[in-house]
Symmetry: D2
């Protein structure tokens, strides 16, 4: 049965991501944007319990009524929640309790899927639950990297895992796109998030977009040319960010006795020169582009050119703020809180990354983060 198989595939993958961890690694929250891995394990489970099982599965027994308080993320409609900064203070529920919670909900979901013909609405909710869990799979990777990569012992996540291999096209070339009207937004069958809907026309002027991502070597040139010391390349807010954080390189880069190292899945390693630069803020992406005499593409320019580009290694900062498409409408109820309420003070990222779940992204996919954030695998594609 297809749904059941989809469900199990996604759910098992989440647990596999966590397999290399020690129990202690599941617990900590070094900064507010990072959640403890055990919280992700519980929260994704809570989603299925709260939105599918409790309202629809007769005889379902809630695993623990207090878990709603612990694992709700930001759904104001669904009761009180632990304030976000407190997640890393919670030693309980223990990892083994959460694993039992997953088993409990999984068994109930399987039974539910085996015995119930889903309505279209329920089917949509189910698919949303899987895509939601895939989003948390990516967050698990980035949060685990943060937790281990900010530990003074620099432990490897999985020494056998290879980091991303160098890209093939170290010297990028430019793709010229013609002015005209382009269609933007999701169309066709299959799942998409509400923020991709409202397919609409956009007029684009002539532009050129690079067919390759900026590499570590190219970014190092910017550092060595004094890019972090010259305010002219930076937004005012970015310049404040540089000074407040004494930023001088991407996150996870360390200059140790003159050699540039970076923290990777295998621990601290010499910088890989041809890999696409990662873990940079929007401010850094924009400053790099300004230094090169270029700019970042808008999300519309990106989407129009995407079929001609190789993408998926980095989430690519765009020069577009995260705002609703024409005709965007929130879903009714708690699910409606999913995307719309974040449409302010964030920038759009397009593409995907080495830790995005398989088949999760697409060319209409709109990721978004605050311009200062760097713990995602964020990178740079130039436009002009």
């Amino acid at each position: 049965m297809l749904l059941k198989k989809e469900y199990e595939t996604v759910r098992r993958r989440t647990e596999q991501i966590c397999a290399p961890l020690k129990t202690e690694d599941y617990v900590v929250q070094p900064v507010v944007d990072v959640s403890p891995p055990k919280w992700h394990l519980g929260h994704t489970t809570w989603f299925f319990e709260t939105f599918i099982l409790i309202p629809n599965a007769k005889d379902y027994t809630v695993f623990d009524p207090q878990y709603n308080y612990v694992f709700n993320s930001y759904y104001e409609s669904v009761g009180a929640r632990v304030i976000r900064t407190n997640r890393g203070n919670l030693s309980r529920p223990a990892v083994e309790d959460i694993m039992r919670y997953r088993k409990h909900v999984d068994a109930a979901m399987i039974a539910f899927l085996e015995t119930t013909a889903l309505t279209a609405e329920l089917q949509a909710l189910f698919t949303l639950g899987l895509n939601h869990e895939e989003q948390h799979q990516e967050l698990l990777y980035t949060d685990i990297k943060y937790i281990l990569g900010h530990n003074p012992l620099f432990p490897a996540y999985d020494p056998s895992r290879k980091d991303i291999s160098p890209v093939n096209n170290p010297s990028g070339s430019w793709l010229n796109m013609e002015a005209g009207i382009y269609d933007i937004g999701f169309t066709g069958e299959g799942f998409c998030f509400d923020n991709e809907l409202g397919r609409h026309k956009v007029y684009l002027n002539d532009y050129a977009i690079s067919n390759t991502l900026v590499t570590n070597t190219e970014y190092l040139d910017f550092i060595q040319a004094g890019g972090y010391q010259d305010f002219r390349y930076w937004h005012a807010e970015g310049w404040d960010w540089v000074k407040t954080n004494q930023a001088g390189s991407p996150m996870y880069w360390y200059n140790i006795e003159g050699q540039w190292m970076h923290y990777t899945w295998q621990g601290l390693q010499p910088l890989m020169p041809d890999a696409p630069v990662a873990h940079i803020s929007y401010y850094e992406a924009a400053a790099y582009a300004a230094w090169k005499g270029c700019r970042l593409p808008t999300e519309f320019e990106w989407e129009a050119a995407a079929p001609l580009l190789s993408w998926g290694l980095r989430w690519e900062w765009t020069e577009s703020a995260y705002l609703p498409y024409p005709g965007f409408a929130k879903a009714p109820g708690a699910i409606g809180e999913y995307n719309g309420k974040f449409m302010i003070s964030q920038m759009v990222l397009r593409g995907g990354s080495e830790v995005t779940s398989p088949n999760h992204s697409r060319i209409t996919y709109r990721n978004f983060f605050h311009p200062s954030l760097r713990w995602q695998f964020t990178g740079i594609r130039l436009a002009r």
Copy 2:
């Protein structure tokens, strides 16, 4: 001589705005976004001294070399500056010293204009200086209102001054705009800011836009319907803002023993029911629109419809982030810091307000503020 007259008109108007103040009112800075009036008086003068007189006027004697340190606002190219939060700590230079500074620079400017044929570049700089001073004229009004309106004695600015009269069309009607390609951005003769340049085409879908601004009475309906207590109308960031600031009404509104009052140029007065609501954040504007089942217009929708609208009483929040137009380029040198470096984390406002200097705004004018700010005369126009 035209330039001389323009110069004197603008410069005198600045001083007239300050005429009702007591010396003490020139000094304070109650919040970081508000500058002391005496700082505005000095800073606008510093602009002419630094960018026109010092580089171009032979034999010009700098009034006081330390003033560059005190009156530079944010031009990183022009040396150290007093950090912004400190402006309100500076009792010196005294108001009378700054008035002498203005006279000194004015005399030199008049002499310069009388004796020098301006190059096109100098002419542009001169016009920029006047428009810059007009921007600070508006800030003088809004900062003075903040200073007096947050004083527990609620002193009037000028009892003889009438507040804005009620708008004529209390019940708004909708203007339907057709889908298609529209031209956006400044064109033609005359002055504009760099952020208006790069005239370009934009495709707009069908939309409707209100031909009137939301009034105090209409906004009061939102308050009384519990709008500030229902998270569903708010962005997540806006909801945090409501709770952190315990916001429950526009700035300057006070509910005194059951009656709504607001602080005006004449002091505390009963709320004017038909005046367009003012002093609201973007969050409030967007929440009000959501509550009405509408939305805010984009800046492009606004500009396309503007010739058909009555505007100029309020700066109207749009659903557009402040980002560069295609082809935007910074000017070289310090002047290039004027606009581009603020193109992040701000929302665009269009229109003008009751305190915008005469002929200062236009339909391509792009004002911008952080979504939380309310001390400007900001208002709401609905779209759908």
Copy 3:
């Protein structure tokens, strides 16, 4: 062999305190004053490794050179340290690694004690190490209580453990002490901390001191009489603390549907009326005393009366700031950082508590905390 036995007794007790914990409980740091249990386990071990083994035990192999960075607490002399707020971000070293670290150091210490005749200086350092570990035993208890007692699931530490039994003398009587010169400070054989040294004379006026601690019931009277709402009983700093923290009861007290509960070693339980009140700040102790028309004793009054008192259930806030005795001198080297550098902005507590290690305290013992802290078992004894 006595030293070996002492060593093993203390070291085993530390591990027994942690025995009821789950691995996750060892990791978190909910507030800056609480350290993760695994940090205590490592830090106490680091003390013996750093101050005894490394300088004195030939052929000792450091377990892991990076542990100095992780487990140093505040000894500026001994290299860089993890800044204190970061302890709860560190998932590694894992608990099992730290347990291996303890075994490694224990084996080396036992071998060292078996083969080496300790000099007087080394003997002193050894005894200091044991007393240091006993201090951390108490912190383990109070930190574990904080970690579990601030978890929304309120897990029990050890359901079989009885909380402190009610005191015998619910209505306290007063002990009258005569004015005169008293000797203060440690004298005699055995161990004491450097802050107890400098035995000296103090003149005390006539005073009376209660022979019993204030009970929960008595403290509840203060709450119910509006004590937390009446500024007259509070220091200005205490009143700010009440308002900032919205304090209305001791830490761990919860009024649930009209019934007062408190978090205990067995989880959330009805308030024990006759137990001595615990987990209060100095501000609360002083406000309670003021409300009763009394005051807190000075540390000198306490010490002079102590032989006549029953003490040891609560650390008793005194009206004495933590300052050096006449003749106080820091020890040379890192050990000299132990006490003296904290002699500012803290108040002295005398006595001991239900979780103080056996035989660890004495009547000359000077404990000290900032007046706002409540996570220790702090209580009140009145004087007048």
Copy 4:
């Protein structure tokens, strides 16, 4: 009539202190501990109006009922007050209004004194009001120095005013004091504050106390010996303070191109080598003493030796926390808030300073500040 003359002498002196100021100088509050001079002028007047005229003078007309809100400092008993950090935001009441307020209250006070025989209680309140105003006279000096001395133009307060002349005894000698019982606290006729009362015996051990204050030159030796870079001399809290504030010299010292300058009443001047060091925190005083192998005297040691010392140039930090004397009791009512509620987290200073009002201090006088504060004329006397 004596009372009337006393009143007028004190009141006129306050205004004379402000005479060299420009209107703007009366308004600003650069840090929370400094109040705008116009606030001092109003607050001292409010004291007489609130505590003497309103309750006692028939037919007295309150000058402005809103002034209670503006000029109350910290008397919780007397209604709402402007929160302290906001004082510098208030441009109104204007200086001229406050001067009229002073005249209004002065006229009423004179009339009251001329027509009323004061009860003992009223007499005490009257004297307290004068001493209160004298305390604010000193604060006026120190706050004015802060306001002008933190302005980038470094304006002089009064160029004709001589700074304190060098002390006569540059090389200090030691005064040996014998162990024994000493009487501490105020006795005799005349005014004292409540915190000096409760005369009581204290036992002091043998000690030595310097008969001279530490000079600028001596303190410079500490700086040049690296005192601010060596944690061993500092309390842990002091060391954090050094690092957070990047402290490297007393307040108002500037090293300009290799020469040490300090801000004085005449503006920026070369450091006066023989003047007693001023404007240091308790942390700095204690660190200097530690570096010299000495310590600070306790307030009791100071008071016992004071008749043999020359004092009055600097407030001398003591190694005593500000705590109640045995038998200390608060006065009933608002006046009782004067001293007792500050008896926590502050250190005692003894002596007086070059800006203490004439005859205001005495050897039993207990001044107190938080250990981090430096804007008072604080200095160092060594003990051992």
